[in-house]
Point group: C2
Chain length 312, copies 2
Amino acid sequence: MDTIKSLGELSMGSRLKRLSDMCMKNIQIAYNKHHIDFDPYLFPAFHNIANLGSTTNAELFESLKTSQPAVTQTINKLLKKGLIESATDVTDKRKKTIVLSEKGKEFHRKARPVWRGMERAVKKFTQHPANSLIEHLNNFEVVLQSGEFLKTVNEYIDVEMQIKITEYQEAFKQDFYDLNTEWLETFFYVEDFDREVLSKPHKYILEPGGHIFFAAEGNRALGTVALMKASENKYELTKMAVHTDARGRKIGQQLMQHCLDFAKEHNYELFLYSNTLLENAIHIYRKYGFVEIPVEPDCPYVRSNIKMELRR
Amino acid sequence: MDTIKSLGELSMGSRLKRLSDMCMKNIQIAYNKHHIDFDPYLFPAFHNIANLGSTTNAELFESLKTSQPAVTQTINKLLKKGLIESATDVTDKRKKTIVLSEKGKEFHRKARPVWRGMERAVKKFTQHPANSLIEHLNNFEVVLQSGEFLKTVNEYIDVEMQIKITEYQEAFKQDFYDLNTEWLETFFYVEDFDREVLSKPHKYILEPGGHIFFAAEGNRALGTVALMKASENKYELTKMAVHTDARGRKIGQQLMQHCLDFAKEHNYELFLYSNTLLENAIHIYRKYGFVEIPVEPDCPYVRSNIKMELRR
DNA sequence: TATATTTACATAAGCACTTATATAATTACT
DNA sequence: AGTAATTATATAAGTGCTTATGTAAATATA
């Protein structure tokens, strides 16, 4: 027995509200499952701010079609979450200029595949012909209630978040530089020679016969690694870097496995330089079959105090 | 610029909520316009209680598919409005038996044409094929925002509430009795002879060549009037009564106009007995052309102190 | 038969909105 | 130029839901 459903067109308002609640709840669960700290109610406002670049309370009020206090309240929530920043306008002190914070921009990049997954799932269950609005609502409600929608959302998000290892591509040139300098800055410091090599991958890595790979989520590079030719079939595994907000997704290991497969296929012998400070990295190297060998006196990296090679 | 709309499937939750709010607001306006003191949010619960006859908190919880506290809160609102009554169950003191109050039943009868109008309007704008849920929502939102929905709802409600004057019909026999005794009880008292005549309209009015008319809203009689044959072409206008909760809808005047038209067509001369206490009634009689004439000594009604006839 | 568990309903607090109103800063008007 | 009107945003209080928890009555269990 379902009164609201059986009333059909007569309780359209309650019906829409109930469906909205169910929809929001499902989306919230999907966010949680993928460790996205976000609230579905904030989405339209956040998306709008991200799209406009810089906006104001009044502008959001205009495009969100809610009440002006609702906009103020939403802005406050986004501020509290640290996803946006606001400042009083210089020319008009009544206005507040709202922009995404660094955290907000980072979040936006991170959440994009999740949103793509959600959109695809909603479309799957709602983009089909029906003879009335109620019929559409009935259909959608069934998949929301049965858990089928949630299952599909999660599947689609997983697909969208899937990491693919790709060859070097020009679109990722800047990422190659950024990903590497980021961790260098964290653990050591970026030398001029690093900058030179990282900004000219063609000259220093690809043209001499080496390879660069990226771990990409959609069109976003989350990690990289390079194989630099040392001699005829000896290659140095280097320039491995993973984006900080992609930690825990085993991207380093996927890149490593790809290099190993690639090396085996082409009959390459691999070696690498590292530093004992980087315990996690070295742990992974060992796990994948690298063993420590003596560092030669003329080691090219000042920061390296350990050399390893792949035991075949 | 409409962010939520342009996001399409991606902001389905917010979209449904916004539409629900718009829908509820429109319905609320329609209620107000027709002087129905009701809240669209209460509708599913109220309808359920009316349909089940007697129910409990738990039963409503089951069929409304909301949270149990929401049911309690809704029940409290309905109690506050006096539309329902609740009592602790005799066999299980935890339970609360909920039934419509007299006011609730009366309201239910009164609101029925309004609901029919609302349902027809929603169906008009949502019962058509579309290729996706979003398309349906877009279409419905347009008519909600433009005011077209509201206009149609009001029109349809007006049609559903329209009063039609009908000949005597057996289905309204009890209404003929009830409508008349109700006002007699209010102003005077019901005599045995009243009961006799009102319960046997065939014997006392129709068979002697008289007529009975009803003012009906759908299948509900809201008012009645009779023309009793006094002599060959002289008829007494009598038994005029209008339901209390239909006051202000000019039902008395419609019945009166019908009698005048009918009398003219059949070349009847009309007269009536009344009481000067009934100021409003006498005002209307005068307005429609009745003028006071002397009451004969053998006046058949004890309660009448005034006699009027139609100046042709 | 006494205690634990379950059931039916109520209460409290929170959330995302709403309307009504306040508070500044800016613009219009005479 | 000084006051009034308008604009941009904030605050307060209310609404209809939610989840979490409380309370009393009925039922199960030992």
